[in-house]
Amino acid sequence: MSQNGEREQWGSKIGLILAVAGNAVGLGNFLRFPVQAAQNGGGAFMIPYFIFFLILGIPLMWIEWGIGRYGGRYNHGSAPGMFDVIWNNKLAKYFGTLGLFMSMCILIYYTYVESWTLGFSFFSITKLYFNETTAETMRSFLYSYQGRAIGDHFATMWPAYILMLITFTLNFWVLYKGISKGIEKLAKIALPLLLVFATVLAIRIMFLGTPDPSVPQNSVWNGFGFIWNPNFSLLSDPSIWLAAAGQIFFTLSVGMGTIHAYASYLKPKDDIALSGLTTASTNGFAEVVLGAAIAIPVGVAYFGLHATQEFARAGAYDLGFVSMSLIFQKIPLGQYLGFMWFLLLFFAGITSSVAMGQPVIAFLEDEFGMSRKKAVLSIALVVMIAVQFVVFFQRYGFMNEMDYWAGTFGLVVFALVETVLFMWVFGADKAWAEMNAGGDFQIPRIFFYIMKFVTPVVLFILMIWWTVQTAIPTFLLNGVDPANRPYYWGSRGLMAAIFIGLLFMVKKAWSNHKTEEDMKIEKD
């Protein structure tokens, strides 16, 4: 526990819900979801999407809120301590290390990605990229800014580096201010603003109609048709169902230890049933309503279906940064709309990244008795050192490797571990009672069986599928330029160092606890 023996508390329930929803709402809501929907059957994709929302998303939310609040009762704000109290086994705390590792690794590269959105909001309002009128030159602008390619636009990486420093400082300043005065305050400002900006953009885009009447097929409604017109024949393809499960999994930011950390600051009888459902539905609103109404419809309206599909295939950054930056040059008041778009992405990013910093800070506070200041400074130092590799080796694939193992594959592993521990080892009846305690409503009984049987099975299938489909080829570095392979191994080395360091710290913390307990017994 922390030095003064007291843990912080959330200022209000709505503040906590906004903080957890802010953690969930990220770049994926506005960039990944519409691409996934369009590529996997359009409107028909929503059938598996909603099914997995019910059997995977909402149950995992409640499980993580439940584990978090239960751990907080024993003054544990991170997964090692939480797993230790739900499973009386020496290994439990080491499984919990995954919850520190995942969030910390993602924080390292996410801060950098987040800084691009801050940079582009500035470039929009100042019209810095407004002369880049083709996809090639816009892409060159982005790559030059990121330091991935030498271009005419940025002679050095200093602008990107300075913006990374600003983003980094903002993140750790919020974390330093604490739960109520930092994270909660940020969520209360950033999430509503994000939703307002996204609503303004979505409404503006809906009224764009057909920007060039001589090309009637390039219209906003064709864009909506691209996302929503159902293709039922694809529903018989299992990969569509797994894509929907994957999207639900990513979008709710489950499986990384952040929700546990936030929920640990609840009181034992505070509600989690309604809070968990509210955060999941808020994230769904940001994704299904707002996320689907911006990047793809406006892309189809200006570039046509084929070109938008090409942007989508090239990835979220091409769609979010290249395509959208080109469009803002064509829309009246585009500089302001561009500013809003990138700032909303920045808000989506920072509310997620501060959540990623919290588990490891809570770990230092709760398990080593560090002051918040000391804990934040220690983590800031480690992240600052690690982020240098991401910034300077990004062009060689260093970040992609971290994103795959920590930000993709690792999440499903951690989610499976926590579900099995909570619903099977801790016990489904105890877990059910814990999740319902203090609830503003009683969770429908059917979710007891879903959480116990369906959710772990779906997670297991997802893990096996991803292992075969992507983990093995990624591990074998299939398709990676041989010249870049040392950087991929360097990325793995950094992740291994972080994981081993965290394992060692967990061991040390519990050894300290044991010594303290022995001394207390002797004293008594």
Partner: protein
């Protein structure tokens, strides 16, 4: 291509269900906080 009738139905159902659930949850949260 445009937005077909089936596409429009899916859009309305998806937007309607998610928006209704979100608004319902927030109303309940606000009510419970006032207690």
């Amino acid at each position: 291509m445009g937005l077909t009738t089936a596409g429009l139905i899916f859009l309305i159902l998806a937007w309607g269900s998610v928006s209704t659930l979100t608004v319902y949850c927030f109303i309940k949260v606000i009510k419970s906080e006032k207690k």
